[in-house]
């Protein structure tokens, strides 16, 4: 087993970076350079962790880097970190999102504060993904709202205040259910083990026995909190406004990363801790996911601006993830975990390109664009790669994950899978149509003079394209790392369904 200091470093480093960035705020550009440096270091660190990670540490059930320190026994508060295949991908994604959104979404208004908030957000997201204690996860999860709120309300577009408030209230309200659910589980455990101190450790929570009805209630409470974050239809209504109003870096953080907190939480805490209930509510959540896929696809067709377009297509993609998570098969869950990462990467690509277009034309309305292919062929090409990956073209990353999800779901719930497959078709429709409207046709007026992607912009998008292709043709090393953890999780669910 490796030292947990690696994980603690991942959390602490961005915080230190934020402090340094604020300390050097008087020097122009210094804060930005500090942030980019920290971002690069963070990416390197996560890659080291990814290489070091061993899925077969004895008695750790696929976890590595474990360590637990009780902070306050009466409160049941502990600092407890661990990493398994599920968290591993998310941790890498977190670092990548930070670096790429800094490089591609630079915002020079009050920059030191902006990069500090981004760094703080990264630290908290890292904390959420490596937390191995339910209460600790909640604290990190809840805290991510604060930097998000300030990023949106401080640097967003015209309606930023309303968007930020809506986002905050939505998640804050939904997470009330989560906190009460967590407390309920903790005290259920304590009442069963009167001699033990109050604890919210993941292992203890998993060992809590409860009646089936209670488990279903808890599952619903968890699903509300995570469903609002993911988002799952019908709890998605905050996302189009928020994505559209947030600054580029904020949109990337929200859709590529923080949405994954929702699906990660659903998988890790709802499915992982309440396998029995998962079996019972599965048909309902699967139905919601299928509705989300179709609903998101239809609205993506009619979205008027590019950010809302990505918001709705994300809803469809996130619903695919929910479908895989709830499928109850190893293949489906593996696909979902992979899609969480792939969708993150693809969305970074989309929002970066939208941000670049916004810089040039000061607009994100689809109607304002036409024929950009002529003046900006490289940009069009890069958009095409992200688009094709999102559609699920074989050979690109989206294909592997969507394919696994559909197959996995088909083995357990064939009908849902069949309807969801329509979503793949629909994604081709809305993506290609959007591409046509923006890049095809004749470029007139301001569109004719749009400059192509600069060298800097190309370099920012290069890792995105590389990852899309790499994970499309050679996903095996990544799959090898997630499968053992997924298998442990799904076995629980399978055992539960046998018991039932």
């Amino acid at each position: 087993m490796h030292s947990s200091l690696w994980l603690s470093a991942l959390i602490v480093l961005p915080l230190l970076g934020a402090l340094v960035a604020m300390a050097v705020r008087r020097t122009p550009d210094a804060a930005y350079r500090v942030a980019v440096g920290v971002g690069a270091l963070e990416v390197v660190l996560t890659l080291v962790v990814a290489v070091l990670y061993k899925s077969n540490v004895a008695g750790a059930q696929g976890y590595d880097f474990l360590s637990r320190h009780v902070v306050s026994a009466p409160l049941g508060l502990a600092y407890d970190v661990a990493l398994d295949g599920l968290s591993l991908l998310m941790v890498v994604l977190t670092a990548l999102v930070l670096l790429l959104s800094l490089l591609g979404g630079r915002d020079k208004r009050r920059e030191p504060a902006f990069v500090s908030w981004l760094l703080i957000l990264t630290s908290l997201t890292m904390g959420s993904f490596v937390a191995h204690d339910v209460l600790e996860f909640f604290v990190f999860f809840e805290l991510t709202l604060v930097p998000c709120y300030f990023i949106i309300s401080g640097w967003g577009a015209k309606e930023r205040t309303r968007a930020a408030l809506k986002f905050f209230l939505y998640t804050f309200t939904a997470s009330a259910f989560l906190l009460i659910g967590i407390l309920y589980m903790g005290f259920a455990y304590q009442h069963q083990h009167p001699t033990a101190a109050l604890t919210f450790a993941y292992g203890a929570m998993a060992a809590t026995s409860m009646s089936h009805a209670t488990a279903v209630w808890l599952f619903v409470a968890f699903a509300v909190a995570f469903g609002a974050k993911a988002p799952v239809w019908p709890l998605h209504t905050w996302s189009p406004l928020t994505y559209a109003e947030a600054p580029t870096a904020g949109s990337i953080e929200l859709s590529a990363l923080l949405a994954k907190l929702g699906s990660y939480g659903l998988l890790r805490f709802a499915v992982g801790l309440l396998p029995l209930a998962q079996v019972s509510v599965r048909p309902y959540v699967l139905t919601l996911a299928v509705i989300g896929i179709l609903y998101g696809s239809v609205l993506a067709c009619v979205a008027a601006d590019l950010k809302r377009f990505v918001a709705y297509s994300s809803l469809a993609q996130m619903s695919f993830i929910t479908l895989g998570i709830m499928s109850g098969s190893t293949i489906g869950v593996t696909g979902a975990v992979l899609l969480m990462f792939n969708h993150g990467i693809i969305t970074i690509g989309f929002f970066l390109i939208i941000g670049f277009l916004e810089r040039r034309r000061a607009s994100i309305q689809i109607a304002d664009f036409a024929g950009l292919q002529g003046p900006a062929p490289v940009m069009a090409g890069l958009f095409t790669v992200a688009m094709l990956a999102s559609i699920g073209l074989p050979g690109l990353s989206g294909f592997v994950s969507e394919y696994l999800i559909l197959i996995g779901t088909f083995t357990t719930h064939a009908w849902w899978s069949a309807v969801a497959a329509l979503g793949v078709l629909a994604s081709a429709v809305y993506l290609l149509w959007a591409y046509q409207r923006v890049f095809h046709g004749r470029a007139l007026g301001a569109n004719a003079t749009v400059t192509d992607a600069s060298a800097g912009e190309r370099w920012v998008l290069a890792p995105v394209v590389v990852l899309i292709v790499l994970l499309g043709v050679f996903p095996q090393p990544v799959l090898n790392r997630i499968t053992p953890s997924v298998h442990t999780l799904v076995t629980q669910v399978a055992t539960a369904s046998v018991i039932k």
Binding site: V71, S72, P74, L75, G76, L77, V139, E142, L143, L145, V146, Y149, F150, S153, G154, T161, A164, L165, F168, L169, F172, T173, A176, F177, L179, I180, L183, Y184, G186, F187, Q190, L198
Partner: protein, 493 residues
């Protein structure tokens, strides 16, 4: 031949009360003998030093508890236990901080004279008495001493009619509540044969009350009296007007000290005295909590005046603190104490910022006047933002653990639904705290209107202390939580 037997008195037990009373008297007499007005510096120093002395006394009381455990004195009417000691310490800290704010306010407003400090110390003596009372009569005494001081304090700004109006309103309604309280005490005496909480508890534990009408009526009236003092819905009507009309430092004093005193006494009456009747009063409190949290948060939404908004926010907080009482367990009482420990300094510091922002005449309290504050004065703006986030219950501030611990106590006692409703009300409350925070960081509309406010040194210390405590215990709540838990272990049964 009638003889009056004087009960034995353990002076260390009532030393905090005596200190405040004594200091108030000394200051009163000095101000009468002094040729001119007593210098402000002198009267403020007396209050601050007395508060420090009380704090030191509570330390020795706490040390004594380790050896001797909880005890009573003055014919079992006054208690010395962990709960009272910690609550007294919280009061002492709040009085000291509030005195500093009031000092700067009085200098600015040119309200020279020791009145504030005398009245504040006398009122605090009443609050301390409430935390230590083990007898309904003593609670009533404490309540009246506290309230009488406050009635005058609220009217301290003689040049403003709102101040007098608020005082009158508070006085009339407060008198009414006191009458209800003492009537409840009388009925309870009728039902149980004693006003002493230990005796009441013993009586109820060893007898079956066949016709509990008198008992229930007495308990209900007591509860109404308390609900009025802590401004629980539907007995909250006075609080926005009084909070708004009173001079801002007085509002801060009220918001912290009254809550500590009243809640400490409420815990003692319900848990220590009427603990056997848990099943009767719990449903009533349940409704009270739901109303107080939800109505408090909802009515705060349309407010445009910072003081009124904080009045409703403090109603919401009162609802949360009541949850600790509702739980009826040691965990609940500890959580309540922890809530008070973190809430009192936060709210004093928040009103310190409001006092500063109020400007000459104490009148600029519209939320609009806060626009762009954090841009003009980053430290003051950030301090207010932290204090607001703590009241919102954001993690890494003490307010989060305060809310967390009462909710945990509720869930532990089987009140998951109650906890959920309260937490959803916190989500409503979050929207107005956040709106205010955003205003702080917004672009100022009109540069001409945006004046930099002067933060006097003493007030700056108070604001700084509030922020530091909020963040320190937000990151490291362990010691305070343990203290609250130990305090409840020493609770007099």
């Amino acid at each position: 031949m009638n003889t009056v037997t004087i009960p034995s008195i353990h002076y260390l037990t009532i030393l905090p009360v005596l200190l405040y009373f004594g200091a108030a008297l000394v200051l009163l007499i000095t101000s009468a003998l002094w040729r001119r007005t007593v210098p402000m510096l002198f009267s403020t120093s007396v209050t601050v030093l007395t508060s420090v002395a009380v704090l030191v006394t509570t330390y020795f009381q706490w040390r004594g508890l380790d050896h001797a455990g909880a005890s009573t004195t003055v014919a079992h009417a006054v208690v010395l236990d962990g709960f009272s000691v910690v609550a007294s310490a919280v009061i002492a800290v709040s009085v000291g901080l509030a005195a500093l704010v009031a000092h700067d306010w009085a200098v600015r407003e040119n309200v020279r004279g020791p009145e504030y400090q005398i009245l504040a110390m006398a009122a605090s003596a009443g609050a301390l008495l409430m935390t230590q009372a083990n007898d309904l009569i003593v609670i009533f005494l404490g309540l009246e001493i506290l309230s009488l001081g406050l009635y005058v304090l609220v009217a301290l700004d003689r040049r403003k009619t709102e101040s007098a109006e608020a005082s009158l309103k508070y006085f009339v309604l407060g008198g009414f509540a006191s009458a209800i309280f003492i009537y409840g005490a009388a009925l309870l005496y009728g039902a149980t044969g004693s006003t002493n909480l230990s005796t009441i508890s013993y009586f109820l534990g060893s007898n079956v009350v066949l016709r509990p009408g008198l008992l229930v009526a007495g308990g209900a009236l007591l509860l109404i009296g308390f609900a009025f003092k802590v401004a629980a819905v539907p007995f909250h009507m006075w609080s926005p007007d009084v909070y708004e009309g009173a001079p801002t430092p007085v509002t801060g004093f009220m918001a912290s000290i009254v809550k500590v005193g009243a809640f400490a006494a409420l815990v003692r009456v319900l848990i220590s005295g009427l603990g056997t009747q848990l099943d009767t009063w719990r449903p009533i409190l349940w409704v009270l909590v739901v109303l107080t949290t939800v109505v408090g948060a909802a009515l705060a939404l349309p407010q445009r005046n910072a003081k009124r908004l904080l009045a409703y926010s403090s109603i919401n907080h009162a609802g949360f603190i009541l949850i600790g009482v509702w739980a009826g367990t040691a965990r609940g009482s500890a959580a309540l104490l922890f809530y008070l420990m973190t809430y009192a300094p936060t709210v004093v510091a928040t009103f310190a910022v409001l006092t500063v922002m109020g400007g000459l005449g104490d009148e600029r309290h519209s939320l609009e006047s806060y626009r762009g504050l954090a841009r003009r004065q980053p430290w003051l703006g950030a301090a207010l933002a932290v204090l607001l986030l703590s009241q919102l219950g954001a993690p890494l501030t003490a307010g989060f653990y305060a809310k967390y611990s009462v909710l945990a106590a509720a869930v532990d006692a089987g009140g998951s639904l109650l906890a959920l409703i309260a937490l959803l009300s916190a989500a409503i409350a979050a929207s107005f705290y956040l709106r205010w925070t955003v205003v702080l960081y917004a672009e100022p509309d009109d540069e001409l209107d945006a004046v930099r406010v002067v933060v006097p040194r003493a007030t700056a210390i108070v604001i700084g202390a509030g922020v530091v405590l909020t963040l320190l215990f937000g990151v490291w709540p362990g010691p305070l939580v343990t203290l609250a838990q130990h305090a409840t272990v020493y609770f007099l049964p």
